[in-house]
């Protein structure tokens, strides 16, 4: 076998982002296999990865990981450029924007649970907005708002607690993605 002549030059950060994004994509795919009673409500486990990355490596890396997860996850599930992808993108972009502001809250009082809750509310808010103006204009989405907010509250809390646990139990992150 001839050795490949194509060599991709990757920086250490590239490999780190790729490894973390792979973890997030894995969670997205695993989550897609879970049957859920109501369309539109899912745990959003990949957001745990986003939050851990935000705490460990900063917002830029977190945005890369979340963006790669949204695009690659949609490609793997055959949802790329479908309405489901657009919803995922809108939710992801909005929660990242909210996290960019929320990460400057004083850590003495606001931990991963607060960030996760804010991100979850931003996520579902943006998605309902997209549904309202683009996918189902005229349908009264507002009637479903309490249901979706309640789901966001539960998943936001659970993901925040998981993030806190991961950060605590794993104080020294794995550094190498060779």
């Amino acid at each position: 076998m001839t050795p490949s002549t194509i060599e991709l030059l990757t920086s250490a950060e590239d490999r780190r982002i790729a490894g973390l994004a792979a973890a997030a994509i894995g969670l997205t795919l695993a989550e897609a296999a879970i049957p859920l009673p109501i369309p539109g409500i899912k745990p959003g486990l990949a957001n745990i990865v986003t939050l851990v990355v935000l705490y460990r490596y900063g917002w830029r890396t977190a945005a890369w990981v979340a963006g790669l997860r949204i695009v690659a996850g949609a490609l793997a599930l055959g949802q790329f450029l479908t309405p489901a992808f657009m919803l995922s993108l809108a939710g992801g972009a909005t929660s990242l924007a909210v996290l960019a502001a929320a990460m400057h809250l004083p850590p003495r009082w606001f931990g991963p649970v607060a960030l996760s809750l804010l991100a979850a509310f931003a996520h579902i808010g943006a998605q309902l907005w997209v549904v309202d103006v683009w996918l189902l204009p005229g349908a009264s989405i507002l009637g479903l708002l309490p249901l979706f907010l309640a789901a966001a509250w539960i998943t936001g809390l659970a993901n925040g607690l998981a993030t806190g646990y991961l950060l605590k139990s794993n104080p020294q992150p794995e550094e190498d993605f060779p």
């Binding site: 490999r15 009637g143 309490p146 309640a150 605590k168």
Partner: protein, 135 residues
């Protein structure tokens, strides 16, 4: 193969050590969120209840809840129409119109309406409006 050493990650926050996993702001945000959800839910469930809209001459004469059993009398040009609300249903029990079309219609289904044209009275069973589950 040579493994590159990555300079160690620097956490932006003193991530976890020192602070409890649920801090004051966390409790506060979770509490505010919960109160907001419950409040929205209560408001919503009230507005999703069916209600009855009674019109006289095309103008809203009265709105009534379907939950309260009662008789409502409306005085139209021909006389009194009596509207009966019983056990979450509504019908026109009596009407002076000659052909009794609206009375014979019986209990009005959710989303339906009965019109007593001669007496200029209409009763609408306004069910919870459309939501996405209808699509």
């Amino acid at each position: 193969m040579k493994v590159l050493r990555v300079p160690s990650a620097r956490p932006i926050h003193p991530a976890s050590s020192g602070y409890p996993s649920l801090r004051l702001g966390d409790w506060l945000l979770a509490g505010i969120g919960l109160v907001l959800i419950v409040a929205l839910w209560m408001r919503q469930s009230g507005s999703l209840d069916g209600h009855v809209i009674i019109r006289l001459n095309g103008q809203i004469f009265q709105q009534a809840s379907l939950r309260l059993n009662r008789d409502i009398e409306v005085l139209g040009p021909l006389g009194v129409s009596r509207i009966e609300i019983r056990a979450g249903r509504v019908r026109i029990a009596a009407d002076p119109s000659p052909r009794q079309l609206c009375v014979r219609q019986g209990w009005i289904p959710p989303g339906g309406a009965a019109v007593c044209l001669p007496n200029r009275v209409s009763v609408e069973n306004a069910a919870a409006g459309y939501d996405t589950l209808n699509y």
